[in-house]
Structures are given as structure tokens and as C-alpha cells.
């Protein structure tokens, strides 16, 4: 699994500890995560900013966003 995907998965597991059974792929959307909501978006934003040392816009982290889109965004140069 891509390193960035692993990091994102760990972030999601930190927010939703009982997530271990959910398979996270590039096509997984945030809405696929059970109980995904705007509060989770704020927590994931904080986590990703720490993990990737990059400003993450809130509008990136909505239900329809795929893991691939997050990976692409964090992979872009600042």
C-alpha cells in the first residue's frame, strides 16, 4: 500500500478506532467511512497537516472526496 494511503488510513483509524475492518483503497470516499461528519473532517484536517506538514483546505475533506484526491493533494509541491 502507498505510504501516503497508509498515513491517511492511520489518521482515519485514530478518529474511528473501530475502522480496522474497512478496506481503504484509492477509490474509497470519505463518505464510505461510517459516521463520517464535519467534525471528523476537522480532526482529519489537523492530523493530515501534522503528518504531511502542509496546509490542508477544509473543502478538500468532504464526503465525496476520494483517498486518491487526498493523496494527490498532499503529493503536490507546496
Amino acid at each position: 500500500m502507498n505510504g501516503a494511503v497508509m498515513t491517511i488510513k492511520e489518521g482515519l483509524q485514530e478518529i474511528f478506532p473501530d475502522l480496522e475492518d474497512l478496506e481503504i483503497t484509492f477509490d474509497t470516499t470519505l463518505a464510505d467511512v461510517p459516521d463520517w461528519d464535519s467534525m471528523a473532517a476537522v480532526n482529519l484536517q489537523m492530523y493530515l497537516q501534522d503528518a504531511f506538514q502542509k496546509e490542508i483546505p477544509e473543502e478538500l475533506l468532504v464526503g465525496e472526496t476520494t483517498i486518491n484526491e487526498i493523496v494527490t493533494f498532499v503529493g503536490r509541491p507546496n
Partner: protein
């Protein structure tokens, strides 16, 4: 009653039977919990764990978590079975049972405990125990500063008027209940009719002016509108006698009058959010109820954001609306003269206790993370009190008796109110995941008002659906239709095509057609209403 206890006893026996036959029963002679405790104690005693011990600790915690989840599921299923009977289904009491059952289930979730949350344990090992110490420090700080529940956001990160609520403007009117702020124009010309924003008074006004990119006020101003906004006084005991009528006359109506005078116009556009929208709907009907029609009202057209006028299906807040709870709230308010903002905040957080209480609890106290820095959460935590008289009236007559939806059943400021007297064009917005004002409830304005209603449904919730700035990256969507029909909300939705982007742009287009030609902006204030303190004013800073 005897039958109930018999059933209770039988199901409790059944529950334990399942526990006992479980392969990972806690009745086992050497529970994994003890082994993991020994390793944690070793780590806390500053003895370095070997890599093998660390792995063992994580494995044990995973095992404990799995076992705990199984028992949690069994216990909650037992509780559910015990509480829910065929006879109780679909009753209001049943909804209350389910609500409190969810509170128990969420509170007892294994993730909320150190020994059964693998992520917490992993953080503990990585930080060599510092995460738990940080968590304790944060808990103690919350306790010391009197927080009722774990903080949702970094309270030190924002200061109103400095890095939040910063759009330039001036207070142009103040009475005992409200300040009215007029924003400085940023364009050479502005539409003739101003936009008057009637804000809710359950939180502070600045949800529509968070920062430079997340500001409806700034969006309107930069689109060539003159913008006014209400900032309400945070009431104290001395304001216990302030009623909904006062909010109507001293607040919304006065705001409209001041804007009329400053802009030298006969009519304005008014927009209300949440309870501010309910007040505005009441004002529209009130103004038209004095023998007036939509054509002579000082409000030419209006927008209602996340606004309920019909409380027959109030959504999840309905669990609090019953005689016993209302009496309790009323007795509590009678002591202080107001409903404390802390109780209101807690009531809202309980509606989403997993995401608004327990997840924060785990992050802050068990993992030792700092609370997130978020303008929206900061605003959300900046709750206000509600005056006793107004709150009693609102809960009883709107939520409990649903009088606003009934023709002439509710009297506001001496006039019976009928929503079917609203003839002005309306722009109404609901949000798909709004659990405070569910969109099907906000949809009902189409049936009650007699003028044209352009109804918009946006993605996201009660706050994020409305703090919705257009952006290239935005994945927001909305559905819109202004045609009259008798469609149910769900049928209406299936008939619409989703549009990408923010409804703010659609609203701007609608407003631009209605607010007249662009002319030189009005002055800041007027000789009757001179410009006073700079925005955000004084009331918003009061604790």
C-alpha cells in the same frame, strides 16, 4: 409491571448466557487485560520496553478491543431489546428511549477507554507515556477552568475582532437588545436595496464572518451589496422579561428601519438564519397582518436559511420536547432568569455525542492531542444565554404547540400571525445533513407562504452547509427549484438535478435581480444613527 420484570429477568439471563459461552469471555482465568496492564506499568516506570514487548502490548490491546466490542454489542442489543417493545414503537417516549440508549452506548464504547483503544495504546508507546500525561494535563486544565465537557477547539487560537469577525464595519445602532453593524462597501457602486442579516441569538453573530475566505458578509459586500447584520446582547438575569416580541420589535423590525433610513430606501432585503429566520418569517407575517400586503411591507423579499416555521417534525431536537423536560427547563430558568448557554451547548452536543463529545474526549484526554484549531468550532463553543421569557415562549409555542404553522394561533407583538399572509418572494435554503433544522421541515415554508419560494437544498449540515464559500476545490452540490408544486420533500429532490458548487452564487444572482440598480454606496450611518464603534462592536465581546 410483573410481566415487564419477568421479561427483564429472562433477557438478562440470556445476555449472560451469551457472555459465558463466548470464546473470549472475561471469566477466563488469565484475561489479556492483566498482561497488558503489566507492560504499561513497566513503560510508565520508565523501563524501556523491548520491540517484542511493544508488539505484544499492541496485540494484546487489539485483542482486548475486539473482546470489548463484542460485549458492548451484546450489552447494547440487550438494552435495546429490553426497552423497545412492539407497543412502544413509533411513540415519542420510544424516541426518547432510543436517544438515551444511544447516549449509554456511545459513552460505554470500548474506544473511550485506555485499555481497549489500540490507537491510544500505539500513541502511548510511541510517546513513551507522554501522551497520557498530556491528556491528564488537558483534563486538569478543563476542570480548572470550569469546562463542563471536553473542549472542542483551541480557545487561545482566536480572538474576535482580531483574526475572526474582521470585515470592516461600524455599529450604527444600539439598544438594550441589539447592535446593528453596517459593513463598509468594497465596490464603487452597490445595489440600491441593502441586505439585512437577522442572526440567531443562540450563538454569536459572526458565523457569517469567520475569516477572509469564510465570510458570507464579505462575499455579499464584494459582490456589490450594502450589508447590515444584527449582533445580539448576551442576556443576563436582568433581562429575564425580554420576550420573543422584543426580539421582533426591538430587534428585527428596528434593524430593517435603521437600514431603510441609512440607505434612504422604502424597502430592504432581509435574510434570517435558524431562529433568526423564524423571527424574520414572523416579522413578514406581522407586517402584512396590519392590513398590509407584501407590496407595502418594508421587507421587499426575504431569505430563510435553515429555518423552521412548522415544528410538526422538528427532527432530533424533538427528544427534548415533552412536558417533563420543558417543566424542568422552566424551573431551572426561573432561578437564573435565563437558560444558560452551557446547557444549550450540551443539549446540541448530546445530539451527536460520538462526534461532539467522545471523539474529543479520546483525542484530548487519552491521546493527549491538542484541540483542533477551527473557526467554526470556536464559534460553536461561543454560546450565549437565552432570556427566560423568550425561551419559555419559544419552546412552548413553537416547538411544543407548533402555533406558528397554524393560522392566527400565535400572537406576536399584539397581532395574530398567519404565515399565509407572506406574499413576498422568498429564497429558502435547507441542508441535507442538518440535524437541528432538518431540511424536510425547512421545506414546509413552500406550503405555508403564498408568494413565490425558490427552495434550495445544499449538501452538508447546519453550519457547513451555510458557511459555504465558492471555491475551485469545493465539492459542494445543491439542488434548486422555484416552481410551486405539492411534491413531498423526497419526491421534490428526486425531480431535481444536482448543481456543482455553492448555493451562494445562485443566491447572489437571485438577489442581484431583486435589489435594484447599482448606485453610489450609502454613507456609513446617518445623522439619526451615527456610526459608532468599529465592527465587531461591543455586544459580541461580552461573556
Amino acid at each position: 409491571m410483573a410481566a415487564y420484570f419477568a421479561r427483564l429477568s429472562e433477557s438478562w439471563g440470556h445476555f449472560w448466557q451469551q457472555v459465558a459461552v463466548s470464546p473470549s469471555s472475561p471469566l477466563a482465568p488469565e484475561p489479556d487485560l492483566i498482561k497488558s496492564q503489566q507492560l504499561v506499568i513497566k513503560q510508565l516506570a520508565d523501563e524501556q520496553l523491548t520491540d517484542e514487548e511493544k508488539k505484544r502490548l499492541v496485540d494484546l490491546t487489539n485483542q482486548n478491543a475486539k473482546t470489548a466490542r463484542n460485549y458492548h454489542k451484546l450489552f447494547i442489543a440487550w438494552l435495546h431489546k429490553t426497552l423497545v417493545t412492539d407497543a412502544s414503537k413509533n411513540s415519542a417516549v420510544h424516541q426518547q428511549h432510543l436517544f438515551w440508549l444511544a447516549q449509554i452506548a456511545n459513552a460505554l464504547a470500548p474506544e473511550n477507554f485506555f485499555w481497549t483503544n489500540p490507537m491510544v495504546m500505539r500513541r502511548f508507546i510511541q510517546s513513551k507515556g507522554a501522551s497520557l500525561l498530556n491528556g491528564y494535563t488537558q483534563w486538569f486544565e478543563d476542570y480548572r477552568t470550569g469546562a463542563d465537557t471536553v473542549r472542542m477547539t483551541d480557545q487561545e487560537a482566536f480572538k474576535v475582532g482580531h483574526n475572526i469577525a474582521t470585515t470592516p464595519g461600524r455599529v450604527v445602532y444600539r439598544n438594550a437588545l441589539m447592535e446593528l453593524i453596517q459593513y463598509e462597501p468594497s465596490t464603487a457602486v452597490t445595489h440600491r436595496l441593502p441586505v439585512v442579516l437577522i442572526q440567531p441569538w443562540i450563538n454569536k453573530y459572526y458565523i457569517f464572518d469567520l475569516n477572509e475566505t469564510k465570510s458570507l458578509v464579505r462575499f455579499l459586500r464584494d459582490s456589490g451589496f450594502t450589508v447590515f447584520i444584527t449582533s445580539w446582547k448576551n442576556p443576563d438575569s436582568g433581562m429575564h422579561h425580554i420576550g420573543f416580541d422584543d426580539y421582533l420589535k426591538m430587534g428585527a423590525l428596528q434593524a430593517v428601519k435603521v437600514a431603510q433610513t441609512i440607505c434612504n430606501v422604502a424597502r430592504v432585503h432581509a435574510a434570517g438564519y435558524c431562529i433568526g429566520g423564524t423571527l424574520l418569517a414572523g416579522l413578514l407575517a406581522w407586517l402584512n397582518g396590519n392590513g398590509g400586503s407584501g407590496n407595502t411591507s418594508p421587507v421587499a423579499h426575504a431569505s430563510l436559511f435553515s429555518t423552521m416555521v412548522d415544528y410538526s417534525e422538528p427532527g432530533e431536537l424533538g427528544v427534548y420536547i415533552n412536558e417533563a423536560t420543558l417543566r424542568y427547563v422552566e424551573e431551572m430558568m426561573h432561578i437564573d432568569g435565563y437558560l444558560d448557554g452551557r446547557y444549550i451547548a450540551l443539549a446540541f452536543r448530546l445530539l451527536r455525542s460520538n462526534s461532539l463529545i467522545w471523539r474529543n474526549y479520546v483525542h484530548a484526554y487519552l491521546m493527549g492531542n491538542k484541540a483542533p484549531r477551527s473557526e467554526v468550532l470556536y464559534w460553536n463553543s461561543d454560546s450565549t444565554r437565552l432570556p427566560e421569557k423568550m425561551c419559555r415562549f419559544y419552546l412552548r409555542e413553537f416547538y411544543f404547540n407548533n402555533k406558528l404553522a397554524q393560522t392566527d394561533a400565535l400572537t406576536l407583538a399584539g397581532r395574530p400571525i398567519a404565515l399565509n399572509r407572506i406574499k413576498q418572494p422568498l429564497y429558502a435554503v435547507g441542508a441535507l445533513q442538518d440535524h437541528i433544522c432538518p431540511w424536510p421541515a425547512t421545506f414546509k415554508i413552500r406550503r405555508h407562504a403564498k408568494g413565490p419560494v425558490r427552495y434550495v437544498l445544499t449538501t452538508e449540515g447546519h453550519i457547513t452547509g451555510f458557511v459555504n464559500p465558492p471555491s475551485e476545490r469545493s465539492k459542494m452540490k445543491y439542488w434548486v427549484n422555484g416552481r410551486r408544486s405539492k411534491a413531498t420533500p423526497q419526491n421534490w429532490l428526486t425531480q431535481q438535478t444536482a448543481r456543482k458548487g455553492s448555493w451562494w452564487q445562485d443566491w447572489r444572482e437571485w438577489l442581484s435581480k431583486k435589489c435594484g440598480p447599482k448606485i453610489a454606496p450609502p454613507p456609513m450611518g446617518h445623522q439619526r444613527y451615527p456610526a459608532q464603534e468599529p465592527a465587531p462592536g461591543v455586544y459580541v465581546l461580552e461573556p
